[in-house]
């Protein structure tokens, strides 16, 4: 019996109390409506304001946010902290350990690992951003329309997205990128958009269906609102939150996918500078020169972690039920 009380529903029943506290003004509706100092005191707070307020008090948001900001800055201007060229290598220094001016040591080609790690950020970040932007736009439009209109359109789209889901991403990557011949930022991003959109489409479809069933959408219909108004004014703003969260976390996974593809030799190819390429080259020498692997792999992990942390913080802020 006692176990019964540990079920989630009862936890919710107990936790419902603070969340359910009505936020009210001292103004009674029965009282004559008149301006008052207190009426002006409580500012209008939209849910986005609330979410921002929540985010701004989370240390996790600042840590991940600063990291991501730093990444973006160095991927635009890598010269800021690593002025040398990542392609200026000296075979004589092959696999050398850290020395003064070269804190991360040298790789097999005698290139400075520090410079390559810094310059490698650009490939990762741009693939991540392009892929995420494409996936989000394509996925939310297709999924959102499927959820809103339902019927045949929905059935066909759901089947198509099932098919894409069924494709193993690595196998798909190997096949696609060898067919298009030429792994660069654009092709890798296109591949990810092609295979990634069903994930967002599903989320968007679910979110739109949930929003569609809300009474306020019915109320808008009852007022005579058209499809465009209902989609843009009522459904989209309310379906956006889960998409933002998933997209943020997906960004991290696309970065690691880019590294994986480059590691496998089908993604970016030398002379492009990418963490995946460096990890691939370092992996054979892991016993002799672990520093070659450690730095690019570490940079990759920290980057992915930063995006996942940001996604987590955003989810907490956007989901009022978790408050």
């Amino acid at each position: 019996m006692s176990d019964m009380y540990d079920t989630q529903s009862l936890v919710n029943a107990a936790g419902g109390a603070p969340g359910g506290l009505p936020v009210q003004e001292p103004h009674g509706p029965g009282e004559p409506a008149k301006p008052s100092p207190d009426g002006a005191r409580e500012k209008p707070r939209s849910l986005w304001n609330d979410a921002w307020h929540d985010l701004s008090r989370k240390p996790m948001f600042y840590v991940s946010g600063l990291l991501i900001l730093f990444l973006i800055v160095i991927s635009i201007w890598p010269g800021l902290i690593a002025s040398a060229s990542p392609l200026a290598c000296d075979l004589a220094k092959s696999q050398d350990g850290p020395t003064s001016g070269h804190p991360f040591g040298f790789d097999q080609q005698g290139c400075d690992v520090y410079t390559r790690v810094v310059h490698g950020a650009r490939a990762s970040v741009s693939v991540g951003l392009f892929a995420t932007a494409g996936v989000t736009v394509l996925g939310s439009v297709l999924g959102g329309l499927a959820g809103y209109f339902g019927g045949w359109w929905d059935a066909i789209l759901s089947r198509i997205s099932d098919i894409f889901f069924g494709i193993p991403i690595l196998l798909g990557g190997v096949v696609f990128l060898s067919v298009v011949k030429g792994g660069n930022v654009t092709t890798v991003s296109i591949f990810m958009i092609l295979l990634g959109w069903p994930q967002i489409a599903r989320i968007a479809r679910g979110a739109v269906i949930t929003a569609k069933q809300q009474d306020y959408v019915q109320a808008a219909r009852a007022l005579g609102a058209g499809n465009a108004r209902m989609l843009l004014r009522h459904i989209a703003p309310n379906a956006l939150a889960p998409i933002i969260v998933v997209a943020t976390i997906a960004l991290g996974t696309y970065i690691s996918l880019e590294a994986t593809l480059s590691f496998l030799g089908v993604g970016l190819k030398p002379p492009a500078v990418s963490w995946g390429i460096d990890i691939s080259q370092a992996s054979s020498q892991i016993r002799n020169a672990p520093h070659m692997l450690l730095w690019p792999a570490g940079a990759l992990s920290v980057t992915v972690l930063a995006f996942i942390m940001l996604g987590d913080a955003v989810r907490d802020a956007l989901d009022p039920k978790l408050r």
Partner: protein
């Protein structure tokens, strides 16, 4: 109370039950509303009561054309609104509005109160010229008893009762003739319910509104309604004036329903005669043949399974001139003073 403003005739809504993913096959239907007819007169309040699953909320959606009727007609000024679409439907919607049950889900959380109440004017710009909208919205807030200064706030900054007032203001914006109220106070606290009921009565007088008031709280329905219809499993069991239904019910279901209402008087506890119905409401996907209520009725005979009772004044009461002379869909309609109804 002269001419009917809304005439509902044999309204039916069946929700298909389907199987299969891509090629859907219908395997049955939930008969949510199965042949309902009634009239709504100008300026009156028609209460519709019934338990969950009786189809009363579906009736509300059908009257609003938010659900497509399977068959039947809803005439508004001679026009069948179930057949309308596009521009014609939009025009009718100016005159028929709705107040929803849940004040938490019926307001878009990402819009300000001003945007919510002003949206009707965006959709029907002919009602209010652009410059006058803000003033209109403030006036509406004032009419429903809210501070017009709240215009820029968001719904979550209000309590349930205040939100319901916002919903009512939105319903009033286009100056409609009919408001369909689907359980408008059941989500509110007891002390706030009375405020909202009073507001709705005040607005009815002020704007000459006709209400269809759907609720399960029998005492509130009685207070606000001129006439009351009792629904059971997709059909109308009985309809009449409030006194006819509450004091002289002739349908066994109405009698049982009234007797089951807890009376807020502990003295009535001992000498109250309650009809406790056996079992549960059958599934609307597979309703009983003949009279829908027969499976729980203590009067049921073979005839009830074979012959569907029609909603009409029972023969024995025709021309009687007593309050029992009202429409009741029962083969064995008879009066039985429901003890305790006087306190309901």
């Amino acid at each position: 109370m002269s001419e009917p403003i809304l005439q509902v005739r044999n309204l039916v809504k069946h929700f298909p039950l389907t199987q299969g993913v891509l090629f859907k096959k219908q395997i049955g239907a939930v008969k949510a509303v199965d042949g309902i007819s009634f009239d709504l007169y100008r300026g009156e309040t028609l209460g519709i009561v019934g338990e969950s699953g009786c189809g009363k909320s579906t009736v509300a959606k059908l009257l609003m054309n938010l659900e497509q009727a399977t068959s039947g007609e809803v005439f508004y000024k001679g026009q069948d609104i179930t057949k309308l679409s596009g521009r014609a439907l939009k025009a009718v919607r100016r005159n028929i509005q709705m107040v929803f049950q849940d004040p938490y889900t019926s307001l878009n959380p990402r819009m300000t109160v001003g945007d919510i109440i002003g949206e009707p004017f965006d959709i029907h710009p002919e009602v209010a010229p652009k410059g006058s909208r803000r003033a209109k919205v403030e006036e509406l807030l004032d009419v429903v008893g809210l501070n017009p200064e709240y215009i820029n706030r968001y719904p979550h900054q209000f309590s349930g009762g205040q939100r319901q007032r916002i919903g009512i203001a939105r319903g009033l914006a286009l100056n409609p003739e009919i408001i369909i109220c689907d359980e408008p106070v059941s989500a509110l606290d007891v002390s706030v319910q009375a405020q909202v009921v009073n507001l709705m009565e005040k607005l009815q007088d002020e704007f000459d509104l006709s209400y269809v008031f759907i609720a399960h709280d029998l005492s509130i329905v009685r207070h606000i309604s001129d006439r009351v219809g009792v629904m059971y499993l997709g059909r109308m069991a009985e309809i009449g004036t409030d006194a006819e239904i509450y004091e002289h019910p002739t349908h066994p279901y109405t009698q049982a329903l009234l007797s089951a209402v807890p009376v807020p008087d502990p003295e009535a506890r001992e000498h109250r005669e309650r009809i406790i119905l056996a079992g549960d409401v059958p599934s609307p996907a597979n309703p009983p043949s003949g009279c829908r209520f027969r499976t729980r009725c203590w009067k049921a005979e073979d005839r009830c399974a074979e012959e569907t009772p029609l909603l009409a004044v029972p023969t024995r009461f025709q021309g009687a001139g007593t309050p029992a002379e009202h429409e009741s869909a029962c083969h064995f309609a008879e009066e039985k003073d429901p003890v305790g109804s006087h306190a309901a």
